[in-house]
Amino acid sequence: MKSEEIIWVEQIVSGGTDAEKAFQALSVKYGPRMYTQIFRIVQNEAIAKDVLQNVFIKIWKNLSSYKRESSLYTWMYRIAHNEALTMLASESKRKHLPIDNSIIQIIPGNQALDSLEGEQVYQLLREAIDSLPEKQAIVFELKYFENQKYGEIAQLTGTSEGALKASYHIAKQKITTFLKAKLNH
C-alpha cells in the first residue's frame, strides 16, 4: 500500500485538481519542522518565513525530479538547509541580522561555558552540526532540539531505530569533541 505522502507527491506532480490540496497537506505535516529547522539557522522570524516560502516554491517545482532515493523529509530537509544558508549569506552581506530569540541557554556548572553567552556557544554548536554528515545532522536536530522519539524520526527518515540511535550517539560525540576543542582555545 502506498503511504499518504507518496500519494500526495503523485497528486502534486500530476498537477490535477487534487494537487493544491495535497500540497497543503504536505505543508501542514512538514512545514512546522522545516520552519524550526530554518529558524535555527537564520534566527530571525521574517527571514525564516521568506526562506520557507522559497523552499515551498522549490518543492512545488522540483517534486517531479524527486527520485525517492532518500525519504521525502530528508529531500526537503536538504532543500531547506541549502536555502537557509544561501539566504543567511546574502542577508548577512547586506546588514547585521537581528536575532529574534536565542536557540539555547547555558545551564551553569560547566567551567568552559560559564563565561560565555548562549549565542556564542550556539554559533559553535551550529558550526559543529553543519560539519556532520546529513543523516547525523538530521537525527541530532530532531532529537536534541525537538526531543522527538526515535520511532517518529525513523518514519521521517526511513531509517531503522537502531541505526538512528547509533547515528545520534556518534553525532553527540563529534559535537562534544568539536566544542571542547574550540572552547579550550
Partner: protein, 151 residues
C-alpha cells in the same frame, strides 16, 4: 556511580514558536496558485516566441527567394551620393591633374559605350595632337588598344 555531565547537558535548547497551521495552509495555497500561473505564463511565452520565430523564418525565406541580388547595392548609391555636389568639369580637372594616380582599369570602367560615343571621340582635337600627346606622355599604345579599344 553518578555519570559525569556532558558539555551538551549544560545546554538547554529553547522552544521555537512556530506559526499556526493556517499559516502553512495559506502559504501552500499561495505558492501553488502563483506557480501554476507562472507555468501558464511561461507556456504562453514559449508559444508566442515560437510563432514569432516561425514568422521571422518565413519572412527571411521570402526575402531570400524574391530579392533580386543582381541589383546594385546601396553602397554604390552612397558612393554616387558623395559626389552629388561636384560638377563634371571639376571631376575631369581632378582626374586630369592626378592622372598618374589612377590605373587603366579605374579609368576604363566608367567609360560606358554611351560615354564613349558622346564624349570620347575627341571631335575637337586633331589626330596629330593626340599622337604627339601620346608620344610626349610615353603611353604604351598596345596597352591602350587592349584596354580601351579606342583605335
Amino acid at each position: 556511580m553518578k555519570k559525569e555531565k556532558d558539555i551538551l547537558d549544560h545546554l538547554q535548547p529553547e522552544k521555537i514558536r512556530t506559526p499556526s497551521e493556517s499559516y502553512f495552509k495559506t502559504l501552500a495555497k499561495k505558492v501553488s496558485i502563483e506557480e501554476r500561473h507562472s507555468a501558464f505564463e511561461n507556456r504562453r511565452f514559449i508559444k508566442i516566441t515560437g510563432f514569432a520565430l516561425a514568422a521571422a523564418a518565413v519572412l527571411f525565406m521570402a526575402f531570400v527567394l524574391f530579392n533580386d541580388f543582381s541589383k546594385p547595392t546601396k553602397e554604390l548609391k552612397v558612393e554616387k551620393d558623395l559626389f552629388y555636389d561636384v560638377n563634371d568639369e571639376e571631376i575631369y580637372a581632378y582626374v586630369d591633374e592626378h592622372i598618374d594616380d589612377f590605373t587603366i582599369d579605374e579609368l576604363s570602367i566608367p567609360l560606358s559605350d554611351e560615354t564613349m560615343e558622346e564624349d570620347f571621340y575627341f571631335t575637337d582635337i586633331s589626330q596629330d595632337e593626340i599622337i604627339s600627346y601620346i608620344e610626349a606622355e610615353n603611353i604604351d599604345l598596345d596597352e591602350l588598344e587592349d584596354e580601351l579599344l579606342i583605335f
